[in-house]
């Protein structure tokens, strides 16, 4: 049989940073992110996690899907698609967003970068081109161009990240406010390209994301690492990022929720309210996809709510089922992500809880192993309103040097 395929590269694709990442990856633990080799950890996830909390680390975000959306209808199209009001988003600002299907269930989340009145990039972890094409229906002055391979990206996160950027002579980088975008000639002393820096990230701490043409990716890496040692610079992998994002209370698609276009069971998808993203749903703006359903849900109450739980003891509540009573009689939800948080010294979890039980007692039934033997503990959980880790330094402008 003659099978024609468009895949010409066997195995995982290599990001523009791969030649520098590979030597660090002593563990040779590569995961797959959109077809790209993505380090799960380089040496030790725990150590790498601490770069984002105590010094600074870099994470290769080049595999992020990037869609350039231009044209006079771009704002109106995005505004119909996402739940926040794009018309309120300033130029050179980034906004976290979700978009819903017609039933008000979340398809995916991502960030919208606004470069001009009619020039945007939508970034998301998973491909979204087919949904974007559908969402463009009815708009004429619009173009969508995928730039995933045309932009290399490095997340630089941690308390010393700003100081390191200043060491690269990027004038005024410390003045970037959270979610602001800046353009810098790069390298500062002998510019060959433009470096776009957004004060964004997935760790909840001080951090930036650096965007550059792929042919200059290694130059960026080398400049960072030439000056990085005093700032504790080290690459970090997916496992450490996952720890940081749970502390920050950030949700992950296919972990906290199933994208609405992928669920088999109709009620296995979730609305933004269920994901506790109420602040992102702007019901005051005119028609956007899912609006009618979301208005209805707002009136009637949400069947589920994603909660942040603080759990006594040190046993990680991974995969725990939640109950209304200590005797574990009435099931009321499940843990989606759990972590023994190093920085807060707390045993934390994100959990989906039935809407009718969010103000009542919540008990987690935790299973754990001791020399292969399974044990069980039932712990009463406390609901946390704020992210577990949300330091002021992450918001301060200019950030202090550490």
């Amino acid at each position: 049989m003659n099978v024609k395929t468009t895949h010409t590269t066997p195995g995982l694709l290599k990001s523009p940073f791969y030649p520098r990442l590979a030597p660090f990856n002593e563990a040779e633990q590569w995961g797959d992110w959109n077809g790209y080799a993505n380090a799960l950890f380089y040496k030790d996830a725990y150590t790498e996690y601490f770069t984002t909390r105590n010094s600074c680390g870099v994470y290769d975000v080049s595999p992020m899907c990037k869609y350039r959306i231009r044209g006079d209808d771009a704002e109106a199209m995005l505004n119909r698609m996402v739940t926040r009001d794009v018309s309120k988003q300033g130029i050179n600002k980034v906004a976290y967003n979700v978009w819903c299907d017609d039933r008000g269930k979340v398809i995916d989340d991502g960030t919208i970068f606004r470069f001009a009145q009619n020039d945007f990039i939508l970034m998301c972890a998973e491909p979204a081109l087919d949904w974007l094409m559908l969402a463009c229906e009815g708009f004429t002055a619009i173009s969508v161009h995928e730039e995933t391979e045309e932009i290399a990206g490095l997340a630089l996160q941690g308390p010393t990240s700003c100081a390191l950027l200043k060491a690269l002579q990027l004038a005024g980088v410390e003045n970037l406010t959270p979610f602001e975008i800046g353009q810098f000639a790069f390298p500062a002393d002998n510019p060959v390209t433009q470096l776009t820096i957004s004060r964004t990230g997935f760790t909840g701490d001080l951090g930036y994301e650096l965007w550059i043409a792929p042919e200059h990716a290694l130059l960026l890496w080398d400049q960072l690492f030439a000056r990085g040692e005093p700032y504790g610079l080290h690459p970090y992998g997916e496992e450490s990022l996952d720890m940081a994002r749970i502390e920050a209370g950030f949700i992950l698609p296919e972990v906290e929720f199933h994208g609405a276009l992928h669920t088999v069971n109709l009620d296995h998808d979730h609305s933004p309210f269920e994901l506790s993203l109420d602040w992102m749903v702007n019901l005051k703006k005119p028609h956007f996809n899912g609006r009618e359903a979301l208005i209805k849900e707002k009136q009637q109450g949400s069947p589920w709510r994603l909660l942040k739980l603080d759990i006594p003891g040190e046993k990680v509540a991974e995969n725990a089922i939640l109950y209304a009573e200590k005797i574990c009689k009435t099931e009321i939800g499940y843990v989606t992500s759990a972590l023994n948080s190093p920085v807060t010294k707390a045993n934390i979890a994100l959990a989906m809880v039935k809407g009718s039980h969010i103000d009542k007692d919540i008990f987690a039934e935790i299973y754990y192993q001791k020399e292969l033997r399974w044990n069980r503990k039932v712990r009463k959980c406390t609901v946390q309103q704020k992210p577990f880790w949300w330091p002021d330094r992450g918001r301060a402008t200019p950030p202090a040097d550490y």
Binding site: A76, M77, R80, M81, D101, D102, W131, L134, A135, E137, G138, F139, P286, H287, N289, G290, E292
Partner: protein, 528 residues
Amino acid sequence: MTDISASHDVIIIGAGHNGLVCANYLARAGKRVLVLEAAAQTGGLAASRQLDGGFQCAVPHSLPQLQKKLVDDLKLTDFGFRLPDTTLPTVALNPDGKHITITADQLCGASDADTLAYGEFTRLLNRFAKAIEPFWYKSPPRIGSGNWADTLSLGQFGLNLRLLGKQDMAEFMRMIALPAQDLTDEFFDSDLLKAALSWDFVIGNKLAPRSPNNAVLNQLLKLSGDLAGNNRYHTGAVTLFPGGANSLIRAMEQSAQAAGAEILCNASVKRVLMQDQTAVGVELDDGRTYKAHHIVSNADPKTSFFKLLGARHLPIQFAHRIRRNRNRGMVGKLHLGLKNLPHFNQLNNANGRLLIAPSREYIESAFDQAKYGEVSDQLAMEIVIPTLQDPSLAPTGHHLLSAHVQYLPYDIKGGWEEHKPRVLESLLNTLQQYAPTIRESIVSAELLTPKDLEQEYRVDGGHWHHGEFCIDQWWVNRPTYGASQYTTPVTGFYLCGAGSHPGGGIMGAAGHNCAQQILNTGKGAATP
């Protein structure tokens, strides 16, 4: 509520027959109705048209789907509409002259075995038609609404099927998705007969005898009319427009006006005006605007949602389903103005519905070519000569030949401008095989392709039914879920055309059902 100073309660975009029917019922219920028609006259696809030489014709030439209820409700006979007093036989023309004549209850020229089978065949189809009859003039249920009326409607559908009895219900479930080919093979021997009976299963849709799924449903829609009496089996009981399509449309128009509806022709709607995600009015091409509480579109779904409303006002997945709606027509229309009555070989009386379809393979082969953007030299045709019923449609002594032609692709390789003369010529060649002297009688001729129908009648895709009539675009899915109860995702915007349940054909049920939906709004009817 939106703040508007509305001049009318309801604006209906398009004065096709469904628009006129919808306007009529609403006006009778006391609503102030304004109907806006882009053309110079009302009637839409059923509007009468002039053929050079003083002939009057229309795209539809028979009205098997019209129900007495509609004629009575709207008092159409008070406005000059005459109920047909005779039904025409169908004649399956045989090139050799051994034609088979089909009437509602018998065959003439067929074998004894085929004649016997015909009785059982029509009995079953009549029963099936009767079982689903109550659902044509009723809004489809909203699945999962929890509304008792919806649940009742669904339950009644199941009950009606059950009341067919165990054996016939089992047969219904088995036969409903069969191709015409298999179905006719089960009952009959004669190729000519099988082809003639297949015709009504496929006409009007992208269907050929071997196409599965939709043939029986297509036939049952055509059996929805009751003017031919209880035995409505269509192939054997064709009713013509007495006075042509014009008399029905004029009666519908005058009846609506008498009920209080205002009708404006030459009033082409450019777009629907929106305010706070609610349809509040319309703007015409000439800049005039009108406002109303309900805006109803008689146009096809794609024109309604994309051209008049704009996809940006719609939910994304809903808009996509409308975009994917299959609505490319495959039926052409041939009109010939003739100096005298054509003579068909071995046929004493041309006052019938004459089919040129010698075998199912003949039909299928024309379909195969149309699928790939080509046109067969041997097309199947359904011919009537309306002037035999109503001589006033032509100058004295002259006759009109009206024929549906299958299959003409919407898009033809090379374009219709290049191919139309050739296709017309090949149609005349085909006709000549059955009526050898017909060319000498021709005074004028026109061929309307699906593309012509689209342009002249403003029907996207040029489809008879504004969209394929098929199981996936039927009932609760017509035109798609979210708009199958005549309401749409946009508050105040409704559909009343053939793209909605039950579908096309001169029937008026979509217009009737839409009017009921609007009248029920606020009386506990479900809103989307």
